[in-house]
C-alpha cells in the first residue's frame, strides 16, 4: 500500500484521529512524567506503553479495513497550506514494531532504572524514562509526518532524545561519545534543512504527496536530493559516516543501546525511503541506486570484519549494527526499474523494510542479553565469556535466538527479507547483489557463532556472578528475540508492497537446510578472523582444524588489518566530515549524469 498514486489528500479519513493520538499520547506522557517527577515518572511511562501499543494495533487494523492510507489534516487545513499526517502500510508496521520494542525495553529497564528506595528522585532513571517516551513520540512523528519540514523537526527531536541516553552514566568517554554523536547528527540535519529550503524555493510546498507530483530533474532539485540524502545517511551511520555509532551504541546502558541500535537509526532510514520512493520517485538513476548499495556492501564488509576483531561483546554488537545498516541499503538497486528509471515499490522495498523490522527486534534482544552478561560478569571481554552458557543460560539463549533470527533462518523476518531481496535480484538480473546478500548472511553468522562458541565453552575457573540476573529481564530479551524469529509468519501482504505476494517459494524443510550453509560459511569465517583466548573455543575437532587452517588464518588476519586501519581512519572527524561532503557531491553527480 504505497501512498503517492491515489491519495485524495484533502480529507481526514475515518480513524485519522488515531494518528494524532499516537503522537500526542507519548508527548503528553513526557510532560506528565516531567511534572510529577521521581518515582511517578516510571509509573507514567509504564502506563503509557500498553496504551501506545493498542493505538499502533488499532492503526494496523483500521488500515487493513480501509485499504487506503489513513490521513489526518491538522486543523482541517489541506496541504500545501496545512500539514497532513499520513499512515500507509510502511508507517503502520514500523509503528507496530516500535511499540513492541519500546514495551520490551520498558519491562527490561524496570530493574536497571528503578528509583532507589529512600530517594525521591534519581537522575539517571528520571532521564531514562522520559527520554524513552520522547524517542517513541519522535519516531511515530517520523513515520507519520506528511511533509518534509515536519520530518526535519521529528528527526531533530529523535536525536535530542537519543543523545542524552548515550551518557546516562556520566562517564567521560560516554560524554565524549554523546557529544560526537550530537555534533555529527547536527551536521547531517543542517544538510537536510538546506535541501528543504531549496525544494520549497522550487516547488512552493514541502508536502510529500504534492512534491511527488511536481518534482522533476532540475539543478536545484538534484542539489537538494543529494544534500538531504547525504545528511540522512550521516544520521543513519551508513559507512563511511559511522564515526559516532560504535562508541555511542557500545557505551550506553543496555536498555538504551537496545533502543538506539534497534529503533533510532531506523528513523532516518525511513525518511530516506520516503524521499526516494515518494518525493524523488522520478529522479533516481542506475548509478545512484548502485552507489547507495555499494556503500551498503562496504558497510557489511567493514562492519563485519571489525566486529569479528573486537575484544568486547557490546562493541561487537555495535559494529554488527553497522553491517546490518549496510544490508538495508541493498534494496535500492533491486527496486530500480530500468524501464521507467523509477524506484518501484515492490518486493525489494518490502524486503528492505522487513529487514529493518527484524533487525529492530533482534538487535534490541542482542543488546539486552549482552547487557545482562556484562552486568553479571562485570566485564564483557569475548574471550573471557567461557562458562556463561552454563551460568546464564536464558541470556545466552536470547542472544543466540536473536543472532539466528538475524542470520535469516526460517521462519524469521530476516529470512523472508532475504528471500524477497534475492527474488528481486534475480528478477532484475543483478547477480552481484545476490552475492553480497549471501555474503552478508555468512558474515552475520560468523560473529554470532564466534560469541556463542566462547559463551558455550567451559569456564577456565568457576565464574562467580557479580549480581543476580533478573528473570523478567532475561524473559523480555528472549521474548523479543522470539518475536524476530517468528516475524516471517506475520501477514505482511496487507501492508507491504509485493506484487507476487510475500510467501517463501521453497518448502519449509528445504528452506531450513538451505539456510544452514551460511552458518557453515560463517563458522569458517569466524575461525579465520575471530578473536581467540589462550586456547581455542571448543568447536568440533578444534585442534585438527587449527592445525590445518593456521596459514589461512594468518593470511585472513593480514587482510583484515588494513580494513581495521581504514575504519580507524574514517572515524576521525575531518575524515568523516570530508566523506560526508564527498558523498553529497557523488550523489549529486550520479543524479546529474542521469538527467542529461
Amino acid at each position: 500500500m504505497p501512498y503517492p498514486a491515489s491519495v485524495p489528500g484533502d480529507v481526514t479519513t475515518t480513524g485519522g484521529f488515531l494518528l494524532v493520538l499516537s503522537v500526542v499520547i507519548p508527548v503528553a506522557g513526557v510532560l506528565l512524567a516531567f511534572v510529577l517527577g521521581g518515582r511517578q515518572a516510571e509509573r507514567v511511562v509504564l502506563a503509557t506503553m500498553p496504551l501506545g501499543l493498542v493505538i499502533a494495533l488499532a492503526i494496523l487494523v483500521t488500515l487493513r479495513q480501509a485499504g487506503a492510507p489513513l490521513i489526518y489534516l491538522l486543523g482541517g487545513w489541506a496541504p500545501p497550506l496545512g500539514v497532513a499526517l499520513r499512515a500507509d502500510g510502511l508507517s503502520a508496521v514500523m509503528m507496530a514494531i516500535t511499540a513492541v520494542v519500546i514495551g520490551a525495553v520498558g519491562v527490561f529497564a524496570r530493574v536497571d532504572f528503578r528509583t532507589p528506595r529512600g530517594s525521591i528522585e534519581a537522575r539517571a532513571p528520571f532521564a531514562f524514562w522520559i527520554l524513552l517516551l520522547a524517542i517513541w513520540g519522535a519516531l511515530n512523528m517520523v513515520f507519520l509526518g506528511g511533509d518534509l519540514f515536519t520530518l526535519y523537526v521529528a528527526l531533530e527531536l529523535l536525536t535530542f532524545s537519543a543523545v542524552p541516553l548515550v551518557c546516562l552514566d556520566g562517564r567521560a568517554e560516554t560524554l565524549q561519545a554523546a557529544l560526537r554523536y550530537l555534533l555529527f547528527a547536527l551536521l547531517g540535519a543542517v544538510l537536510y534543512l538546506v535541501g528543504t529550503a531549496l525544494l520549497y524555493g522550487s516547488y512552493g510546498t514541502l508536502d510529500i504527496v504534492l512534491l511527488s507530483r511536481r518534482v522533476h530533474a532540475e539543478p536545484a532539485t538534484v542539489v537538494a536530493a543529494a544534500l538531504m540524502t547525504a545528511g540522512l545517511l550521516a544520521k543513519t551511520a551508513l559507512f563511511p559516516l559511522h564515526l559516532w555509532l560504535p562508541p555511542a551504541h557500545a557505551g550506553a546502558p543496555a536498555a538504551a543501546s537496545a533502543v538506539l541500535s534497534g529503533l533510532v537509526v531506523k528513523g532516518s532510514f525511513f525518511i530516506v525511503i520516503r524521499l526516494w520512493f515518494d518525493v524523488f520517485a522520478d529522479l533516481p538513476s542506475f548509478v545512484l541506486a548502485q552507489l547507495l548499495a555499494a556503500l551498503g556492501a562496504a558497510a557489511i564488509l567493514f562492519g563485519s570484519v571489525v566486529a569479528l576483531r573486537q575484544e568486547r561483546l557490546k562493541l561487537l554488537v555495535a559494529y554488527s549494527t553497522l553491517a546490518q545498516i549496510g544490508y538495508l541499503f541493498l534494496m535500492f538497486p533491486l527496486a530500480f526499474d530500468a524501464g521507467s528509471t523509477r524506484l518501484a515499490s515492490g518486493g525489494a522495498l518490502a524486503g528492505g523494510l522487513l529487514q529493518a523490522i527484524s533487525h529492530a527486534a533482534a538487535k534490541a534482544a542482542m543488546f539486552m542479553s549482552a547487557g545482562l552478561i556484562y552486568a553479571a560478569l562485570g566485564h564483557d571481554r569475548i574471550v573471557g565469556l567461557g562458562g556463561v552458557g552454563r551460568a546464564l543460560p536464558v541470556s545466552v539463549f536470547a542472544f543466540a535466538l536473536g543472532g539466528v533470527a538475524l542470520v535469516g533462518v526460517p521462519p524469521s523476518g530476516a529470512y523472508l527479507a532475504k528471500e524477497l531481496l534475492l527474488q528481486a535480484a534475480s528478477a532484475t538480473e543483478q547477480w552481484w547483489w545476490a552475492v553480497v546478500i549471501q555474503a552478508g548472511g555468512i558474515f552475520t553468522s560468523s560473529y554470532v557463532l564466534l560469541v556463542l562458541a566462547h559463551a558455550l565453552a567451559p569456564a577456565d575457573a568457576s565464574i562467580t556472578l557479580r549480581a543476580p540476573v533478573g528473570r523478567i529481564q532475561e524473559a523480555s530479551a528472549a521474548a523479543l528475540a522470539l518475536c524476530s524469529l517468528l516475524l516471517g509468519l506475520a501477514p505482511w501482504q496487507a501492508y507491504l508492497p509485493a506484487p507476487d505476494g510475500i510467501a517463501p517459494s521453497t518448502p519449509a524443510l528445504e528452506a531450513l537446510s538451505a539456510s544452514l550453509w551460511p552458518l557453515l560459511g560463517g563458522a569458517a569465517v569466524a575461525i579465520l578472523l575471530g578473536r581467540k583466548g589462550d586456547r581455542l573455543p571448543r568447536i568440533p575437532l578444534g585442534q585438527v582444524v587449527a592445525a590445518t587452517v593456521g596459514p589461512a588464518r594468518r593470511a585472513a588476519l593480514a587482510l583484515s588489518r588494513p580494513i581495521e586501519r581504514i575504519d580507524n581512519m574514517l572515524r576521525q572527524w575531518p575524515a568523516a566530515g570530508l566523506s560526508l561532503l564527498a558523498l553529497a557531491v557523488l550523489l549529486g553527480a550520479a543524479l546529474l549524469a542521469a538527467s542529461r
Partner: protein, 113 residues
C-alpha cells in the same frame, strides 16, 4: 545583481564558513559556534526563498519565515544540549576536547579526534 541574490550569496558564504569550522576545527566549543554559523547561513537562504517565492504584491512568502522560526528554536535547543554536554565533560575530565586517550581495557580506539 538584485538584493535577493546578494543576500543569498552572503547566506551561502556564512554557511560555508560554518561548514569549514564544523569539519576542520578540533575544539568542541568552536564546533558548536560553527554549527550556529552554518545554521544562520541556511536561515538566510530561507529568507531569500521567501522573497523570491512571494506572490506579486507581497513583500515575502510567510511560510519560509515560519520555518525559520521553528528552525531557530531547534538550533537553539541543539546548542543548549551541546553546551550542557560540553560543560559536563569539562567538569568530569577537566578538559574540553573530543580527543580520547583510550582508557585501559575499554577497547575504544585512541585518537578519536
Amino acid at each position: 545583481m538584485s538584493a535577493a541574490i546578494v543576500f543569498g550569496l552572503c547566506g551561502a558564504a556564512v554557511a560555508g564558513l560554518g561548514l569549514y569550522g564544523l569539519i576542520a576545527d578540533p575544539r568542541p566549543l568552536r564546533k558548536i559556534v560553527a554549527f550556529n554559523l552554518l545554521g544562520s547561513g541556511v536561515f538566510m537562504v530561507f529568507g531569500v526563498v521567501a522573497r523570491r517565492g512571494a506572490a506579486s504584491g507581497f513583500g515575502g512568502d510567510p511560510v519560509p519565515q515560519a520555518l525559520v522560526i521553528t528552525g531557530v528554536v531547534v538550533a537553539f535547543s541543539a546548542t543548549a544540549l551541546a553546551v550542557a554536554l560540553l560543560l559536563r565533560l569539562f567538569q568530569v575530565t577537566g578538559s574540553a576536547t573530543l580527543n580520547t586517550e583510550a582508557p585501559a581495557g575499554t577497547g575504544t580506539d585512541p585518537a578519536d579526534a
